[in-house]
Symmetry: C2
Subunit: 217 residues, 2 copies
């Protein structure tokens, strides 16, 4: 049964692939799975019908028969568990890849989101400029540790996995900053992820939504 995912009707990043549906699109492409995409507006996301699928009123959601999932991490893990391509057959390698998936979401992403959202939430506050170096340093701290672990390897633990997919997506949130430039191996790691054919197909699909929406305005 072809699953249905939700994505923004109007991409806030103008098609740069930063919205969380991109993580799910990429996982589906890596595993060769088709999907239907239902677009939702910001208003619809907060209404009861969508909240029944996603308690926090966000995208993406994933519907497959009777199953409804939310949280990009859970959806990517679900896809990776049921289809070949994102997790090793070896039980230990599989568990370690899942550890990297959690590390991307619970250790590396939070300070990146914090730095990003400070601009939206507190950009007009008198302290915003003074806080910037603090926010940058918190991100830098995690990047330094990640860079040190990655070293000159291609991926975080052997072959490309769901953990790399999520880590690349999390690090891509820094694309418009200069922080990633301080860690050339992480920059190259993100570029390796973006160069994968499955990434490109997923990226083009989310960009097409933005282009169509812009043309329709």
């Amino acid at each position: 049964m072809t699953p249905t995912i939700t994505a923004f009707e109007s991409s806030p990043d103008r098609g740069k692939g930063q919205a969380r549906d991109m993580r799910v699109r990429w996982a589906l492409e890596e595993t060769g799975q088709p999907c239907n995409v239902r677009l939702v507006s910001f208003r619809e996301m907060k209404e009861p019908a969508h909240r029944a699928l996603h308690p926090f009123g966000q995208i993406p959601t994933y519907e497959e028969g009777d199953l409804v999932l939310f949280e990009s991490g859970a959806i990517v893990l679900h896809i990776a568990t049921h289809h070949d391509g994102l997790l090793s057959k070896d039980a230990n390698a599989r568990a370690r890849a899942i550890a990297w998936l959690f590390a991307a979401l619970n250790t590396v992403e939070p300070p990146i989101v914090e730095r990003e959202s400070a601009g939206y939430v507190e950009g007009d506050k008198p302290w915003h400029e003074a806080r910037r170096p603090i926010l940058d340093d918190r991100v830098r701290h995690r990047l330094r540790e990640l860079s040190s672990r990655l070293g000159d390897a291609d991926w975080l633990d052997g072959a490309f996995s769901a953990g790399d997919l999520m880590m690349v997506m999390v690090l891509r949130r820094l694309n418009s900053s200069r922080l990633l430039n301080e860690f050339p191996n992480l920059l190259a790691y993100v570029a390796r992820g973006e160069a994968r054919p499955a990434f490109k197909r997923a990226f083009d699909a989310q960009l097409a939504v933005f282009v169509a929406a812009s043309a329709g305005r």
Copy 2:
């Protein structure tokens, strides 16, 4: 093979069970699994030997034969996958419980950690007091959504699961604040989690480490 986990040699919360080893201890107790605990000091956590186990220099880690894992979410999921007690046999219920595990870590915990760490990181800054209501409101926003989804149910999705275990642990971080009091059903939900015999055994075990460390000082 009995796994070995790591925990703080000297608990920063004085045995209140807020450190992340408590999540793993609780999961092991729910599934009836024994474990060895190796205590590490703050200094040791940042040294190469520990960083080889945990790239971000934190606790807990989980060693079982050749397998080394980090990230409390990944460890809890690993335990829940390999032993009965934390995930349903039904595939869809299982996937939904895992979605709640991710929601606890990636949607609910980040604003709670942010509110908590502002005191440590920026407590001496002139803007700290003015930012408090902003930080509180971000937590409140997520609590409201979670409270609305939980309603008068005992657990988030049918029977108690790894998702509830993680959500209770994340909400417990607010124990010393008054925010949780605004949502009586969440307060009762946390109390239900803390009343489970497995929680109590895990709590007592981590408290015993603190008591022994204090006596030895």
